[in-house]
Structures are given as structure tokens and as C-alpha cells.
């Protein structure tokens, strides 16, 4: 999904110099794609605030952009990281059981047909995604919603490719159970 854009470094330099027109160009070009990610990862309630943070952090970190990848990829990676930070922070606040990104035993694999304890009523897919732990949600959203491959997800999340597959499978099982609830 890499699409190294011509002039990305120049655009970054112009943004850093305080060129609002250039920054708006950056926003218009990438906001929709990133918004979909924040929407699915953080949920509707936090998606806008999170995207606002993404562009704020992007401006602050643009000085570190070296042009090794496209600005789109760079922004996407930044967004994934901010989403994960957000989810972990929220999870911590809710005093839920934490799980590790590459820990295959973070949550039990549910057998087919076993109802999810937390889901008494039927949830739609959007709500069910929001109920996933951060690591499951990341793998599911990136693979099944966003269309990334496991090798790309592994790089984005800093985990092994096998872990990405495992997380995705567990996420699907969890979702199935939530939707059956």
C-alpha cells in the first residue's frame, strides 16, 4: 500500500515553515482515509478528537520525516500508534484486563458457538468492533476493514507476522461470539 508521492518532502518542509495552504493540502489529501481508521479503531465518539491530535502530532513531528516512505504511509503509521495509545489509555482507565500486542495467550480462544459473556444482546458489527481489546481490534481493522496484509500489519504494529494472523483469528472469533450474543 506504499505510494510514495512526488513532492512529499517539499510539502513537509512547507508545512514546517508555517505554510497553512500546504498544511491544508496535507489534510485534504489524507484526512478521509485517516478518519476511517480513527473511526473504526477508537469509535465514533473519539474519532474526531483523535484525528485532530493526529494532525497536531504530525505537524510537530514533520521534522523527523525523511522521505523514506510516502507522507501517507508516515501519517498512517502515526495514526495507528496514536489510536493504540488512545485505546490502551482508555482500557487502563476502565481497569479492564490489559493485553499485550504479541501475546498469543492474551485472551482465550472461544470455541464455535460459545456465547460471549459480555454480550447479552445482539450488537452490530461497528459496536462489536468497539468491544474488542486493542490488539484484536488493530489486527481486525487493519486487515479486514482496511485491507492490509499481515506483513504490512506486522510492520505497522511492530509485531511478528504470525502474531498478526493469530490476533486476527482471535478477533474474528470474538466478534462472531459478540454478534451471536
Amino acid at each position: 500500500m506504499s505510494d510514495i508521492g512526488i513532492g512529499d518532502r517539499e510539502l513537509a518542509t512547507r508545512c514546517l515553515a508555517g505554510d497553512r495552504e500546504a498544511f491544508e493540502g496535507l489534510y485534504r489529501q489524507h484526512a478521509s482515509r485517516l478518519y476511517n481508521l480513527t473511526y473504526r479503531m477508537a469509535g465514533q465518539a473519539d474519532a474526531e478528537d483523535l484525528l485532530q491530535d493526529v494532525f497536531l502530532q504530525a505537524y510537530r513531528k514533520l521534522g523527523t520525516y525523511k522521505g523514506d516512505s510516502s507522507l501517507g504511509t508516515w501519517l498512517y503509521r502515526l495514526t495507528v500508534n496514536l489510536c493504540l495509545d488512545h485505546l490502551r489509555s482508555r482500557q487502563g482507565k476502565m481497569a479492564k484486563v490489559t493485553d499485550s500486542l504479541d501475546d498469543d495467550d492474551a485472551a482465550p480462544v472461544m470455541s464455535p458457538g460459545r456465547p460471549a459473556e459480555a454480550a447479552a444482546a445482539r450488537l452490530d458489527l461497528e459496536q462489536a468492533i468497539e468491544a474488542l481489546p486493542p490488539s484484536y481490534r488493530s489486527a481486525f481493522v487493519l486487515h479486514d476493514v482496511e485491507g492490509y496484509q499481515h506483513d504490512e500489519i506486522a510492520k505497522l504494529l511492530g509485531i511478528a507476522e504470525g502474531s498478526s494472523k493469530s490476533l486476527l483469528h482471535k478477533a474474528r472469533l470474538r466478534l462472531r461470539n459478540l454478534l451471536q450474543g
Binding site: E48, D49, P112, G113, H169
Partner: protein, 262 residues
Amino acid sequence: MACTEFQPALSALVDGTLSREGKARLESHLEECADCRTLLTDLRRLRESARALPKMTPPESLWQKVRADFDAEASGASARRLSAGLPASSAKPRPGSVLRFIPRRPSVLAGLAAAAVLVLAVSAGIFFATRPAVPAAAVEPTSAHPTPAQTVQSVEAELDLADQHYEKAIAGLEQVAKEGQALLDPQVAEVLQKNIGVIDQAIRESRTALRSQPTSELAQASLFDALQRKIGLLRDTISLINEMRKGDQAGTAKVVGSLGKI
């Protein structure tokens, strides 16, 4: 083999990443296992549903917020570059951004509030960035060590400068608060006015004390504490106006509760 051992292979089959051998073993199991066949169907449906989720579009109002963030950051960076004599690319972000003060939810006054906070940010940024230059300029022409009189003069100059920057920020915030004052409940407005009066009195007393004792750290701290409290109260007032605009009763109650604590 138990069904659970085939489950990861089911996902791989759905994604088309299963090896030929694995696929043959799984298909053999699927012929005998209705539960796994059902699971496979569900996993396929789930994947299709995920791919079919609608594409979302951010509201246009979000760009207004992002732009306000950018303007505040870029202005701060510009001020820092000016004070440090550095080129644009070497500017580094200031820790503890003023952006946390900018309302994240839609509000008519958000832009005005951001502009007022920017006044404070830039003013304070310039003040602290140029702070060492004041005593240096005062001392250099005469001797390597300032006399007590020179020290007092430089401290006074510094305090005056800081005071001016605070006052400028306060004036900006007062303007924003004034714009939305009509939305406030008369009783709340009265409490606000009373609290502002108390703070203004503290500011006057601190300034009087500083005039007689310019180097008194206590008097200095007292003045800047009072100035900061006034800025805090004005910011709370703007938040309250924003909540009133939104019709958020819980938010309004929260802000009103904080207004009494000066």
C-alpha cells in the same frame, strides 16, 4: 485432531493464505464437522461485512479545529525562531502546548477562544524566550557586575514586561468573554463579576506591594498568581459560554461549579 486445532486454518482459508497441504487436511475435516463448516461460513460473512463497512467522511468543522491547532503551533514556532534566530526547519515544538485549551467539541466561540489563548501563548513565549536579554542589556554598558540599583531596575523592567504580556492576554480573553456574556444566567454573571473583582483587588494590592519592594519574591509570586487566576477564570467563563451554546447541562454545571473556586 480437535476442532480448535483447525480454527486458525479456517481464517487462513478465508484469507486465501492456507498452504495446499493445510487446505487438503482442513477440507477433509470440514466434510465431517458441521460446527467448523458453520464457523467457516460465519468467518466469510464477517470478512465480507467488514469490507462492506461504509467509508466515513470527517465533518468540515474538523478542519477548522485542525487549522486552529496549526495556526497556534506555527505562530509559537515562529516566535521561537525569531527569539532564537533559527531557520524554520530547526524549530522544535514547545512542551505543554496551549492547544489543550482549545475546545474539542463544536462551538461557535471555539475560534475566538483559540485566538485569545494564542495571544497568551505567544506573549508568554516571547516573554520567557527573551527573558535573559533584559538583565544582560541593563548590565553590559557599565560593568561586569550589576550594582544593586541596576539589579532593581532590571527586575522592574522584567516584571513590567511580563505584566504587560499578561494584561494583553487578559484583554484578549475578556473580549471573547464579552462576546458571549449575554448567554450567561444573570446570577452566574454576577458571581463571575464578583470573583473578577476579588482577583482584580489582589492584582492591585500585589502591584502596590511590588512598587515598594520590587525584588520581593513573595510580591512577585502574588502578582503572577493573581494574573494567572484571572486568566483561569476567564477561560472557565468562555468554557461556560461554550457549554451554554451547546446546551450541555452537565458541562455547564461542571463549569459553574468551578467558577466559585477562585
